[in-house]
Every structure is written in structure tokens, then in C-alpha cells.
Symmetry: C2
Subunit: 150 residues, 2 copies
């Protein structure tokens, strides 16, 4: 069976992934398919490996630096009260960071996102339109480029 | 109000934190207070700051390298099927990484830990005894020392 995230990367490379933001040295930045947490962003490793220590040391270091740059850009663009950083991989053991911007006015703001995640991901009211998604992608890509001086 | 994790660090410095494993350059390694997920470990930043980009660049890089070393040691000692890496801070906005070793035979192994967390943390059957805790702390500290060549 093909890895779900390897397929997503293939879609990026084919130009058919509507969530794609930008490519970094060690991974791809995409917006989440739903935006219950506005600015929900992922950073997908180019390596289909489950754990950080499965990367060679220099690559691991770069992957973590780039993860932090993406997180900073998400904070700068979407201005959360707190960012949640998570790499789980229980369902898809291909390393990917989730960044969830949390807000003071959201329900259950002190809890992890996961209790609402299962319903939010399939709720059509949390799927932004094409234009809104394009604006978010552009803003995030520009901020990442600015932080990287590129 | 004193930050909960600053207080935990003060307890470490006073020699009264029974979960303490070892000190690294940028933070402290402790076992989780409960062990529903055997090997549940935390890495607490020495800086009481909420986000990665609030650290100076070199410190941030070192903090992430050390986070990865702790994660690798948790994998090597506790041999999970998958490790979950999480930095949330919704309740306590002082940076700390949670490492949850996940197992093939646990209930809900494909889900994040958080649905069981609220009950597990107060369940006395998940609180190891002093001897068991000491064995776990020693094994983890030795593996971190080995990985760091110290």
C-alpha cells in the first residue's frame, strides 16, 4: 500500500496538491485540509521514516531547524495565543509536524485539539474556499521566504 | 502565580523532584508523574518562554538537538512501536516536550493519547513504585549519557 503522505508529496510534485505552500530542503509545507484551527499547517518530511533518529544527524538537525522556521511563520501570520507542535504518526508513520494555532476565544482552548479533530476534519464549514486558501498559502509562503532571507 | 514548571525546576535544583532524570544544556529531563504509557518522558526548557522562536537562534537549535537526543534515548530504552512528540503549552506556557511511547497492544493505539490522558494521570495503577521509577530513571540517564558521549 502506498504511504498516504508519499502520495501527497507525489501530488505536490505533479502540481495537483491544493494545500501546498512551499518546499524546504528537508520537507514540504502544506496547509491543513480543514481550518477549524485557522492557520493549521503541516511540515512533511521528504523522508518516509517514522522517527527523528532515523535521519542522518545533519539532516535531522536541518529538519528541526526548518520545522522551527515554519512554526515561527505560522505564529507571525496567524497570530495565535499559543502554538501546538505535534509529531505523532500513529496512523501514518511518515514524519510530519502538525502546527495548530490556538486562540483565546476557542472552545476548550486549554485542551489538546484531538477531541474536536475527528469531527472538525470532515465538517464542510471548516473547509476554506479556493480564494481564501490561496491568500493563506501566499501569506505563509512569503513569511517563510522572509525568515529564510530568500 | 509561580509557573508550575518553574516550580518543578526549583524542586530539581533542591534535589526534591522524584521524577528527575538528567540535566542537559537547555533543559531538564524528567519521567512523567504517571506511566500509563510506559516511558512517558518530558524535556522541560530552562527558559520560561512559550514558543520556539522566543529563544535566541543558537539556543533554539541546541534545544531541538537535545530534544531529539532525549527522544532517541526514550526509543532505545522503552522500545515503542511509535513515539509521539508533542509541545503544547495550553495550560502551562513554559516550553516542554512530551514523549509518549506507543505500543501495538495498547487500546486506541492509532489515536493521540489525550482522550485517555485525563483519567490516566490520576489513576494510581499508573504510578510506578520508587524502585521501578529509579530503575527507569537510571536506564534513561545512562542512554542519554551514552548518546552524548559523556
Amino acid at each position: 500500500m502506498t504511504c498516504f503522505l508519499c502520495q501527497r508529496i507525489a501530488d505536490i510534485q505533479a502540481g495537483t496538491n491544493p494545500y501546498f505552500v512551499t518546499e524546504l530542503e528537508t520537507g514540504y509545507v502544506v496547509l491543513g485540509d480543514f481550518q477549524c484551527w485557522r492557520g493549521y499547517t503541516l511540515f512533511i518530511s521528504k523522508h518516509c521514516k517514522p522517527e527523528l533518529h532515523h535521519l542522518e544527524t545533519a539532516t535531522r538537525s536541518k529538519f528541526l531547524q526548518e520545522m522551527a522556521t515554519v512554526a515561527e511563520a505560522v505564529c507571525n501570520v496567524f497570530r495565535p495565543a499559543k502554538l501546538n507542535y505535534e509529531m505523532l504518526g500513529n496512523l501514518v508513520p511518515h514524519m510530519h509536524w502538525h502546527f495548530f494555532p490556538r486562540r483565546l476565544d476557542e472552545p476548550d482552548r486549554l485542551s489538546p485539539v484531538w477531541e474536536r479533530y475527528a469531527t472538525a476534519k470532515d465538517d464542510p464549514s471548516y473547509k476554506p474556499g479556493v480564494e481564501e486558501m490561496n491568500d493563506m498559502r501566499t501569506a505563509l509562503r512569503r513569511e517563510i521566504d522572509r525568515l529564510l532571507g530568500r
